[in-house]
Structures are given as C-alpha cells and as structure tokens.
Amino acid sequence: MQSNLPPRVENKKSRDKVMTAKEAVSRFVRDGDMMLSGLQHSSVALVHEIARQGMTDLTLLLDSDSGLTAPLLGLGRVKKIITAYCGGGNAGNNYVFRRAAEQKIPREVEMEFYSNYGIALMALAGSMNVPFLPTRSMIGSSIAEQNPRIRVIDDPYGGGTPVALVPAARPDVCIIHVHRADKLGNLQFFGHFGNTDIFVRSAKYVIASCEELVTTDEIRRTPNQTIIPQYNVDAVVEAPFGAHWFASNYYYHNDFPFGAYTLEKWRTEEGFREWCDKYIFGVEDWDGYCRTVGYERLWKLYHAEKRFLAYGEVR
C-alpha cells in the first residue's frame, strides 16, 4: 500500500499548511521512517491516522512513552524503539511493550536505551546539525555499557573526567499535538512542553495537530508562546481533543480513568485488538474517535479545566 505513495516534498514555505490528518500522514510519513514523538504534546490523533494508513517498519524515537505509540507497536508496525522509558506511568503496565520485549509479539523489535536527558541531547544535536553532544549522564550504568551508540571518552580538554557522547538524531518525521497554530505553521505551546521544543527542530518533516486554528494576528498577540516558528513545519491539522487520553495544558486534564481502562484492555492480545478495532479501525477519523469516547465526557474535562487554569490568570 505504501509503495504507491509519491516521494515527499517539503512544505515549509507554504502559505497554507492546513490539511486533514489523512492528507498530512499520506504526504509526510513513509514506511521505514524514523518517527519522533514526545511524552508531552502527544498527538494521539496522528498516531491513530498512521495506524489506519498502514505505515510500517517504523523506528520510534521517544523520550518517554506512556502508551502513545503502543497501537503501532502492537499492530506490528515497529521494527525498532529508541527510548528512555516505555510504560504506562501511574495508569498501569504497558503490556503491549512488554509482549514485544519479552515474547517478540507480534514481531521482534530492536531496542536501544538512553535516559531522558540522553534522548533530549540526541535531538538537540540533530537540531544543531552537529554529530553528537556530551553529557555526564549514563556513564557507569548499564545504559552506557550495553548501548554501543553511547561512546565514553576522556575530556579532550584535559578536565580529567570522562564524558558520554550521544549521537545526533535526525528523524524523518516528528508528530506533535500543540495548543494553537495558524495556517502558516506558527505553533504556540501553553504550559510546560517537556522536550517538544527540541524535538520539532530535529526532524526533516513536521506534522502538528492542534486544539485550535487561529489567525496570524491572534498569534502576534502572544509571540512568546510561539515556541516553533513557521519555517519548521510542514503540515497543520485541526484536531480538538487530539491528545486524549493524555493532557493538553489549559484545554483538558489527562483522562486518567480512560488511560487506566485502556492499559487494562491491552493486558491481553485479544483486548488490544478489540480496543484498536473500536477506537482506531472502527472510525473514519479523529472526530469518530471523539464520538466513540463521547463528546459529553470530553467537554466535561474541558470545562473542569477552566475552573483550575486560565492562561494569564492565577486562579
């Protein structure tokens, strides 16, 4: 299926990058890609679209993952994971990851481990166009000992202590979910952003889904929030609630019970299949997912958030 897709063409200079998730994924994601995604600004909407379109043999680059990319992993679309953490956080165990690692189900997946800081520096090196960056993390641990891509060298300036080098990451595609974007691709983040500021800059192609599309004049009101300027971005996809069950600062809280329920369903292969059939393959698009979860629930989460947080106010 993927072999029919035309070669990718950069879209960073376009004056209108707004498109559907379907179009964005078919234009900018290919089989065999290294795909980067962070724990913050998780685009569940784009992961589901990639699952529907069937891209496979992906290498996932993640700082930490609490279940975002598990659908791709459990469907056998992943050949390698480069990560610091792959679990379920407080919501439970990530059995999709465990099955892949422990039983090679549904396929053998190569795994390469770093720490969170290590992954951030790999992307930072990529975004700086330098081949590596040094850190004091990971030295002396099994992470550095068992990962041949981490090189421990003596300080070349004679400082007397060793440093660990991590290789630059240049992922093919980065997918994120942001709060506001304009059609030029200026991306505004509200609240904390983990490593997303670095990640986006390291990738060749960038697809951003967003809570709200706004005018460029609206963006100009708060340019501090434009963490990613337009020249980094290839596609903008409007997808309200696009991070669900994860959080979106100032929009909605993590839907923890849905996450805990989902991880519990994924405990078995059958449960995982059923979940994917219902929430990914049983719907056309992200709006279909939201309808299946229930918009009433999503709007309740949204309104609850307004009680606690409003941008620029201390509530």
């Binding site: 839907d255 019970p257 609850a304």
Partner: protein, 294 residues
C-alpha cells in the same frame, strides 16, 4: 507531645518517611506520585521554603488537585517557571538541584537501582521488561543526593542488580568520582520493611530503621548479603495524626496512599464520574494549602 496515627497504609508510611528526608530550602526534583506527595507534605509541615521541580520542566507547581502524570495540566498549575525538560536536566547536571527521588524494582548493597529489566536466574535471558530509566539515571547521576523508594516487597534486594539503570556507588568507594558524576549518590533507601543508609567509608548499605511490625531479623533474612545493622537501629517513626490528615487531603481518593486507583479503573472506559468529582471537590480544601507559597 506527638500524637501518632493508629491507622495508616504502607504507602502513607513511605510518603511520611520520605518527607522527613527533605530539608527546608532545598531544591528538589520529584517524580509524580509518592515523591510529589512527600514534597507537598514536607512543604506544608517542616520545609516551607523548598523549591520543587519536575523532570518535564516545571518549577514549583502548586496545583489544587492530585497529579496523575508528569505531562498533566496539574504539573504546570500555578508554577513559577516552565523552562523545559532539557533545561532542568542541564541545571541538575550543573549542580543546582539538591535532592532527587527515584524508585525501581531491584536495589543492591551499593544502592545501584534497576528499573529496566529482570533476567531469568537460570537462563540469563530476559524475564520481565520494566519501563526503563526515564529521567532516573540522570537524577541518580547528578542530583546532590538521592532518595531511593522501593515499594515492592522482599525480592527487590539483590546481591547484584540485573541492570544498573541508576548508579548508586557502583562497586564501592571512588567509583562515582572516577566517572565524574556530579551528584553525591544515594543517601537513603526507603523500602516496605525499613530504611537503609550508606556507610560513608565503605559505601555499603546498612539497616537504619525497621518499620513498625517488622523485625531486624526478618529484614536480615530478606537481604541476600550479610546486611550490617546500625548500632543505633530503632523503629521507623510512624506517621502522626496531623501528617495522615494532610495526606488524605492531598490524596483524597487514595490514588497513591490507598486503593483509589482500583476504583478509577472500574467499568467500560473507567470510572469517569468519580474521577471528575474528586477533581472538582479538591479545589476548595487544596486552595487553602497552596496559599503557603504566596
């Protein structure tokens, strides 16, 4: 005269014991769950001037509801700064963070922690895959001192960990210095059975306190090496009534300190009603506490 609580859970004891290790005016890096609860408790009781950072790049969040994950809106609620994850890690590597709290599935006599994988004793192959380091390795390497919380009972103490995710003192004295680690290493291990500290000379773990209802002998049997015992060994101080009262306000549903997580998992799509109500209900009582930073 302190009034000790009669009823408390093991996790409540762990939170209270962790909070006592936090000194006033320290800058912390705390994971979401027991570490953030302990930091909140310390901030309310004896350490009002601490600064709490999280590894996802937030400083002093003071939410009026429970934190569930490091990416949550709560983790930046009422924060004073949001520098980003890599910048917090830079600051830590540069010696700005005093105290980190980590956990894991295995710990050995030098305080090395494994949260990556458990190997099969016979074949040496992979038995159980764990989530991995996250930021734990970075914290163990660079925070000035670390607290290690081991919640799983019994088998978590091992002669040698299967995988060193987070370095303690590695093979003993001098190792951290040889590798140029900015941080000083683990100060204390808080387990389900007691608390353990490290000999300043040999870097070996010794038993400092045993939890109420657990004996020194039981702990020595559980640990696979010849565990040294402090000459001043005593019972772990139990939580006071006040501490338990505060904890039940901070975690009203018992998500971390009780059985609240089970309730939230119930039913098709989880128990959304209880989850939402708990969140909204915590606004008023928690609002009183967050004022302490103003």
């Amino acid at each position: 005269m302190k009034k000790y609580a009669k009823d408390y859970t093991l996790n409540e004891l762990l939170v209270v014991t962790t909070a006592k290790v936090i000194h006033d005016y320290e800058t912390l890096i705390a994971g979401v769950g027991i570490p953030t609860l302990a930091a909140s408790l310390a901030g309310i009781t004896h350490a009002k001037n601490i600064v709490v950072t999280t590894e996802w790049g937030t400083v002093n969040p003071t939410p009026r509801r429970l934190m569930f994950s490091v990416t949550d809106t709560t983790v930046n609620e009422r924060a004073v700064a949001l520098p980003g994850s890599q910048v917090i890690m830079n600051d830590m590597q540069n010696g700005r963070l005093d105290l980190g709290v980590i956990g894991g599935a295995q710990v050995d006599r030098y305080g090395n922690v494994n949260s990556t994988m458990i190997l099969d004793r016979e074949t040496g192959g992979l038995k159980t895959m764990l989530p991995g380091s996250g930021g734990a390795n970075d914290i163990a390497t660079s925070a000035k001192r670390t607290i290690i919380i081991m919640r799983s009972t019994r088998r978590c103490f091992v002669e040698k960990v299967d995988y060193i995710t987070s370095p303690g003192y590695l093979d003993g004295p001098g190792c951290r210095e040889k590798y140029g680690m900015p941080g000083g290493g683990p100060e204390i291990v808080i387990s389900a059975e007691g608390t353990f500290r490290f000999d300043p000379e040999t870097k070996e773990m010794y038993l400092a306190t045993y939890h109420p209802g657990v004996s020194v002998e039981e702990i020595r049997e559980m640990v696979p090496w010849d565990l040294k015992v402090s000459p001043d060994v005593r019972e772990t101080e139990p939580p006071t009534e006040e501490e338990i009262e505060i904890l039940r306000l901070l975690d009203p549903s018992g998500m971390y300190v009780g059985s609240g997580k089970k309730i939230l998992k119930e039913g098709e799509q989880g128990n959304f009603g209880v989850f939402l109500q708990n969140m909204l209900d915590s606004f008023e009582p928690m609002g009183r506490f967050v004022k302490r930073y103003d």
